[in-house]
Structures are given as structure tokens and as C-alpha cells.
């Protein structure tokens, strides 16, 4: 009886599993920011002099062409410090010529992580494309089946690309936020980035210390930078969380000769036209900010 049951179930499920397998392979073969960045790091890690890590603040905000060359932007949306560390561990042995690591210490960096945030589903991208963590992550489970089919159709039949970054890993974005968008996005981002508690602080701090240890071991300079935000965002941040961020960052700057910290949160060389929302720079803003970061690197060289 049970064998008959199993054979019937397998007969019904097999075509579905096969189709799902084909779709999974098709989805994975569509180039995306993760696969592109992993591939670049895999092929060029040995040549890099400057590596940018972090979340969307640097993904959008740092143009590697303005930094000491060769440079690459390996930041991704919601990439938290624990994932910055994991990416570094993955490529540590290959980063033979690396001199500078640029790591954002955003307002939320020390208090949140990818796993517990609203973009937790991006963990799968690291599992699939960076080969970090769980082996059984599926592209299929990231979005609904209808969206997956559209993605396959758009790429294979219409030739659309899903890569948003340029050859240096920079995800530049043009456009200027309206006054209303700056206010609305500022309110939302400040609320989203303010932690309910500091439960994750010790974990994230631990990862930051591991990055510092790695930098010391490999004689890399580590630049910790608090990225800029528009006043509709910065004015709504919790003093307690912000002060803790600044205090910790300064402490590392004071303690280690190879760690440098700079706070650009209220950078006065940027104005409303440099943002596409209250905490992300547009293309123009990113160029200005990247130049400022480069100056900071030169100052400390």
C-alpha cells in the first residue's frame, strides 16, 4: 500500500519538481548585483588596493573611481557588519595588495543585522552567490512564482538586465527627491533605523573587532565613516543611539593607529539636490561624497 502511495505521489510531484529545478537554474543564471560582485571579487581580489563595504548607504553613495586605484565597491543593500566580515573572510587570502578598507558606520550599523531586519530574505543571496551559510537556499523562494516567471521572461526573451551596478560595483542612481519625498523618507528611515533595544550591539561590535583584527594582521588601513543624511533624517535620530555610535567609532580611532574615523552625517558640502531620498545620495551627491572620502584617505596616508 505504502509503495503504491509513494509511487503515485512521486509520479504527480516529479514533473513539478523537474520544472522547479529548471526554473531555479534559469533564475540563478540571470546575472544580478550579487553574482556580479562575487565574480568580480573572485577574479580581481588580488589586484585591489581599496575595498568599499557596507549597506545601501555606500552601495549608492561611493564611486570607487574617485578612490585610490584599483578600487571596488562591494557594498549591498542591508549588508550588515557581520556580512561585511563574512565577505572579508571569504576573500582574505586573496586580497594580497589591499591597502584600504572603507566601512560605513551608519546610525543603525551597530544595532541591527541582516538576519533580523526587514530584508532578511537577502541572506539567501549570500548563500547562493557568495556560498556563505545555508546550502539549500533557493532563488525560487525569494519572490512569488508569477514574479519569477516574469523575471525569466524579461531576461531570456526580452533581454532585460537585472544588474544595477557599474563595473566598479557602484549602484549609482540619478534623480532628485522632492521636498515631500525628503520629509516622508526621512521620517520612515529614522523610524526604521532606530533600534528598539541594543540587544545586537555586542554581536555587531564583536564583528567589527574581528574586522579590526583582520586589518591589523594584514596591515590594511580601516576607514570607518558615518555616511551623510539629509536633515529630515538626521534631525529625527535618537541621541542615545547616535551618541553611542559616535563614541564607539571614536574609541576605535583613538585606540588603533590603523583605524580612522570620520563623521559625515551632517556634511555641509551636500544639499537637498544631492539626495534621491533622505538617507541615500544620488549620482551627483555620491561623486561629491566620494571625493570627500578620498581626501580623508589622503589626509591619513
Amino acid at each position: 500500500m505504502i509503495k503504491l502511495f509513494l509511487s503515485k505521489v512521486i509520479k504527480i510531484l516529479l514533473p513539478i519538481l523537474l520544472l522547479m529545478g529548471v526554473l531555479e537554474v534559469a533564475l540563478r543564471r540571470i546575472p544580478n548585483d550579487y553574482s556580479i560582485k562575487y565574480s568580480h571579487l573572485n577574479n580581481n581580489a588580488g589586484k585591489l588596493k581599496t575595498l568599499v563595504l557596507g549597506s545601501s548607504h555606500f552601495y549608492r553613495g561611493v564611486d570607487p573611481s574617485k578612490l585610490p586605484q584599483p578600487a571596488y565597491n562591494a557594498a549591498m543593500f542591508s549588508q550588515s557588519i557581520d556580512y561585511d566580515y563574512k565577505v572579508l573572510v571569504k576573500f582574505e587570502d586573496e586580497l594580497d595588495n589591499l591597502e584600504n578598507i572603507i566601512l560605513p558606520i551608519s546610525y543603525f550599523s551597530l544595532f541591527t543585522n541582516l538576519e533580523t531586519g526587514i530584508e532578511f530574505w537577502r541572506e539567501k543571496d549570500y548563500n547562493i552567490y557568495y556560498e556563505l551559510g545555508e546550502f539549500h537556499s533557493l532563488e525560487l523562494s525569494k519572490r512569488n512564482g508569477f514574479q519569477n516567471l516574469i523575471r525569466v521572461y524579461n531576461y531570456y526573451l526580452k533581454g532585460e538586465s537585472y544588474v544595477q551596478v557599474n563595473e566598479l560595483g557602484w549602484g549609482k542612481k540619478s534623480g532628485v527627491a522632492s521636498r515631500y519625498e525628503l520629509i516622508e523618507s526621512g521620517v520612515q528611515a529614522a523610524e526604521r533605523h532606530t533600534a528598539n533595544n541594543f540587544d545586537l550591539l555586542s554581536d555587531q561590535l564583536n564583528y567589527l573587532k574581528k574586522i579590526i583584527d583582520m586589518a591589523e594582521k594584514n596591515q590594511w588601513k580601516l576607514y570607518l565613516i558615518t555616511p551623510p543624511g539629509y536633515t529630515t533624517y538626521t534631525s529625527r535620530l535618537s541621541d542615545r543611539q547616535l551618541n553611542k555610535t559616535l563614541e564607539i567609532s571614536k574609541k576605535f580611532d583613538d585606540k588603533f593607529g590603523f583605524v580612522y574615523y570620520k563623521n559625515f552625517l551632517k556634511a555641509d558640502f551636500l544639499n537637498a539636490s544631492d539626495y534621491f531620498d533622505a538617507d541615500h545620495l544620488n549620482e551627483n551627491g555620491a561623486e561629491k561624497f566620494s571625493n570627500a572620502v578620498n581626501s580623508f584617505l589622503i589626509e591619513n596616508n
Binding site: 504527480i12 522547479m20 523562494s141 525569494k142 512564482g145
Partner: protein
């Protein structure tokens, strides 16, 4: 581990093979496998809380054995109270401590005193309200001598932690589930097919109905200040289907999964939105909890016997406690109280048992009276769900206030409204399928048998295809938080 996750899709077939092909010759080993797999299933979420289940299992097992040996009523009563205090103590600490503390603080501050006590920074263990009630029912039944205490610890551990229903029910009675662990189980083809079919329908309810309704319900409830009454009404209806799809979907998957392993769990939902009055609704909604409260709280309090005031008191107690069981928030208490208010007129006029059978038992469609009753009951339920879903009481009152305003007659308009039309269409199809299966334990139980084998396979594929197209990121089940 979520039922709608890849982890579970890997876990289930492996366990099935081990259960029927490797451990099938020895009942003890088979039960041990069920217990171990259940602990694995639960530990996948957070292994630290396994100690709570283990402790609760150990306490109730030991108390059960002691109750079997003791004849002194006072000693038996003490043992019963130890079990009640341990189980409700867990619930009190993990679920209600902060709620009571905050309310005491507020009460004292109104009286001019500042209470210096810190809230506990703890997370609520998944399923704690379900398994504590399950173990409590065992001890109470042994105390009342309705059940012989078990001396088989493995069976008892498997009964408490049985993975299909561990985290969100049905809350099984020891009298039904525990004896099933004592008997050799044989695989029955029809039971296996039935189980898979119920799992399929449960997944459909969760992934297609609940998760899609959730998108609109969440958006509308989160932005209720800016939306018209008609849109808010639509949001409340979406939530009404979300919670039904979510919870009854979970129960279907749980019952179906248990059937694959040769177990029969109690029915937890019986098409509640086709009820003709609130009393019938509560006989059809979350049956395992309603009957638990009926048997272990309402009847011991005197039930519907006694005078009018006793009836009113008991009705309010059972509904408010039931509301509070769902969560430490005043919204749940008001939701329970509101249902008590709905229910009382039926009880006091002795009309609470007038609709015991299935609606339109011998016809395809309901008559006009039944349709009216069904619509009214559904409407009352939708209003009550607003309290269940709202962030707090004032949010619920404002939400309802905006529904009953002139803007109720405007065309609903909000972000994503165009797609909501398709969802409404899916809901109508869903209701038709549920209506056709209303005489059975779940909608697909017999509906598909009427089809030819080829059409039946085509129907399976259609449902799977719809689930696949609608399925996306794994979504939690609402009742996990209870």
C-alpha cells in the same frame, strides 16, 4: 520550522521514510522517532526553549503517575494545583508578566505612586499557549479519573510535543491523542491520500488566501487614518479572510500531516463563515480551544445552569479569558468581550443551539433567511476582528468610526487597489469551493472524488500551480505569536 518552508519540505519526506520503513517494526522506537523529530522541528526555531517543553512534559508526567497512586483527595488536589501553577506560571512569565506590570504601573501612577519595576526583556516561546493547555488537559483528565495516567514517558513526550500540532494546534485532548501512541499504526492508502489532500488545501489557504490578503490588510490597517470608510471595510474583510486562511490553513496542514503518520487529530475549523449565528460560529471556529474552555472552565464554573446572572458571568468569563489567551493586549480582551455580547442574547433566549447542523444541508444554496443570518453573523465577526487586528483600542475605535462614516459610500481607493480586484475574485472562487465542501471535514475531502481520475490530477496541478504562482517569501503564521 514553518510548514510553508523548504526546510519542512525536506524534513517531512525524510521523516516519513524513516517512520514507515525503518522504525515501523517497533512501536517504542517509532514513538521515540516522533518525539525526537518533534523536538528537532521545534528546536529549528529556537532550541533554548526545548527545555520548557521538556520540563513541562516531565512535571505533568510525574504528576500523572503520582495521581494514579494517590487516593487522598487533598493530596490529589495539591498535585493538580502544582501542574496548573507550573503550566500557567510559564504562560504568566513569558506571555503576561509585562502586560500586568505595565497596567499596574499605569494604575499606580494614576493614583500618584510610581512603581519601580522593570519589564522583562524576553521573547515569547512559539506555541507555549498550545502545549501548556494540552498538558494541562492531561493532568485535569487524570485528576478527574477520565483517563488512566500513562507510565510510558516516551509516548507522553511524543504526545506533548507532537510536531504537526505543537506550535499552533489543534490543542489535542490526551483522551484522543495519547491512546493513539499506544497502538501499532498501519499505513492506510486512503488515509495517506486524504492527508496529502488536506495539506494541499491548507497550503492553498495559507499561501494564496492568507498571505495575499495580508498584503492589503496590513497596508490598510497601517494607513487607516488616510483611507476612506469603504477601503477600511475592505481591509477588515481582507483581514477576516487572512486570519481564517492562516489559522485554518495551519490546522489543515497539521491534521493532514498527522494523517500521513497514522494519527487522527480533531477537526479545528468547520467552515465558520457559513454560520447562521454567533453560537454556531463558535462551534465552528478554533474548535479545539472553544471546547477546551467549555470543558475545563465553563462547565466547572456552572456553565449555562443556574440563574441569569450566573449565565452572564460565565459567558463573559469564558469569552474574555479566551480573548486574553490570544495575547496580552486589551484589544484581545475587548474582542472576547464583544463576542460575549454577541452571544448572550442567544443564550438568554435559549436560541444558542438552534443551528446545530450544516447550513443548506439538503440543497445547493441557502434560503433567503439563511443568507440573511449568514451575512449578519459574518458582519458581526468582521467588526470583532477589527479589535483583534488593531494596534490598540483607540486604533480599533477610530477604524470602526471611519468605516461607519459617509466615506463608506465612496469607491475604495488606495495603493494596489487594482490588484485587489483579482484577490476578491480568488476569494469568491475560494468561498464557492468551501461552500461545496461544507458538509465534509475540509473542502477538498470529497469534492475531488466526484471527478474522473484525469480531471482530479488536473485539479491537483491547478491548485499546485496557483500556490506556486502566489507563493513567495515564507510568511509566519499569525497564531505562532499566541
Amino acid at each position: 520550522m514553518l510548514f510553508n518552508s523548504l526546510d519542512f519540505a525536506i524534513f517531512l519526506p525524510i521523516l516519513f521514510i524513516l517512520y514507515w520503513f525503518v522504525f515501523n517494526r517497533n512501536l517504542k522506537w517509532q514513538n521515540l522517532l516522533v518525539a525526537a523529530a518533534s523536538y528537532w522541528f521545534y528546536g529549528w526555531w529556537d532550541w533554548r526553549f526545548l527545555s520548557l517543553i521538556l520540563f513541562s512534559t516531565f512535571v505533568d508526567y510525574t504528576i500523572g503517575v503520582s495521581l494514579g497512586k494517590k487516593n487522598s483527595p487533598s493530596k490529589r488536589k495539591i498535585l493538580l494545583w502544582i501542574s496548573i501553577l507550573v503550566n500557567l506560571g510559564f504562560l504568566g512569565v513569558f506571555k503576561y508578566y509585562n502586560f500586568f506590570l505595565d497596567n499596574f504601573k499605569s494604575a499606580f501612577s494614576i493614583a500618584g505612586y510610581e512603581l519601580n519595576a522593570n519589564s522583562l526583556d524576553i521573547i515569547l516561546p512559539v506555541g507555549i499557549s498550545f502545549y501548556t493547555f494540552q498538558t494541562l488537559s492531561y493532568t485535569i483528565d487524570v485528576y478527574k479519573k477520565r483517563l488512566e495516567p500513562t507510565k510510558d514517558f516516551i509516548s507522553f513526550a511524543a504526545f506533548v510535543s507532537f510536531f504537526p500540532q505543537l506550535v499552533a494546534g489543534p490543542i489535542e485532548r490526551a483522551t484522543n491523542l495519547l491512546p493513539q501512541f499506544y497502538k501499532n499504526r498501519k499505513f492506510k492508502y486512503s488515509q495517506g491520500v486524504d492527508g496529502l489532500r488536506q495539506i494541499l488545501w491548507g497550503l492553498f489557504k495559507k499561501v494564496v488566501i492568507a498571505d495575499n490578503c495580508a498584503i492589503y490588510a496590513n497596508h490598510i490597517f497601517d494607513n487607516s487614518e488616510d483611507l476612506s470608510g469603504s477601503t477600511l471595510l475592505l481591509g477588515a474583510i481582507f483581514f477576516t479572510f487572512q486570519i481564517y486562511g492562516d489559522f485554518s490553513g495551519y490546522s489543515d496542514i497539521a491534521i493532514g500531516t498527522a494523517r500521513l503518520f497514522g494519527f487522527n487529530l480533531m477537526q479545528n475549523f468547520a467552515f465558520p463563515y457559513f454560520s447562521r449565528d454567533i453560537a454556531e460560529f463558535w462551534r465552528r471556529w478554533h474548535i479545539s480551544l472553544s471546547t477546551w474552555f467549555r470543558d475545563y472552565l465553563y462547565i466547572p464554573l456552572g456553565g449555562s445552569r443556574g440563574g441569569i446572572w450566573m449565565k452572564i458571568r460565565n459567558t463573559f468569563i469564558i469569552f474574555i479569558v479566551s480573548g486574553f489567551w490570544h495575547g496580552a493586549n486589551w484589544t484581545f480582551i475587548v474582542w472576547g468581550g464583544l463576542n460575549a455580547i454577541y452571544f448572550l442574547p442567544l443564550l438568554l433566549t435559549k436560541n444558542n443551539r438552534q443551528n446545530m447542523g450544516v447550513i443548506a444541508q439538503n440543497s445547493y444554496l441557502p434560503n433567503l433567511k439563511e443568507l440573511g443570518q449568514m451575512t449578519l453573523t459574518f458582519g458581526l465577526t468582521v467588526i470583532a476582528w477589527v479589535f483583534f487586528r488593531a494596534e490598540n483600542i483607540s486604533h480599533a475605535i477610530n477604524y470602526l468610526g471611519r468605516i461607519f462614516s459617509k466615506s463608506l459610500f465612496r469607491i475604495p481607493n488606495y495603493e494596489g487597489v487594482a490588484y485587489a480586484k483579482y484577490l476578491l475574485l480568488i476569494l469568491i472562487i475560494f468561498l464557492i469551493i468551501e461552500w461545496l465542501g461544507r458538509r465534509d471535514r475540509f473542502a477538498l475531502e470529497n469534492n475531488l472524488f466526484k471527478l474522473s481520475p484525469t480531471t482530479r490530477v488536473f485539479a491537483y496541478y491547478t491548485i499546485i500551480l496557483i500556490i506556486f504562482l502566489a507563493a513567495g517569501k515564507e510568511q509566519q503564521f499569525i497564531y505562532f505569536q499566541f
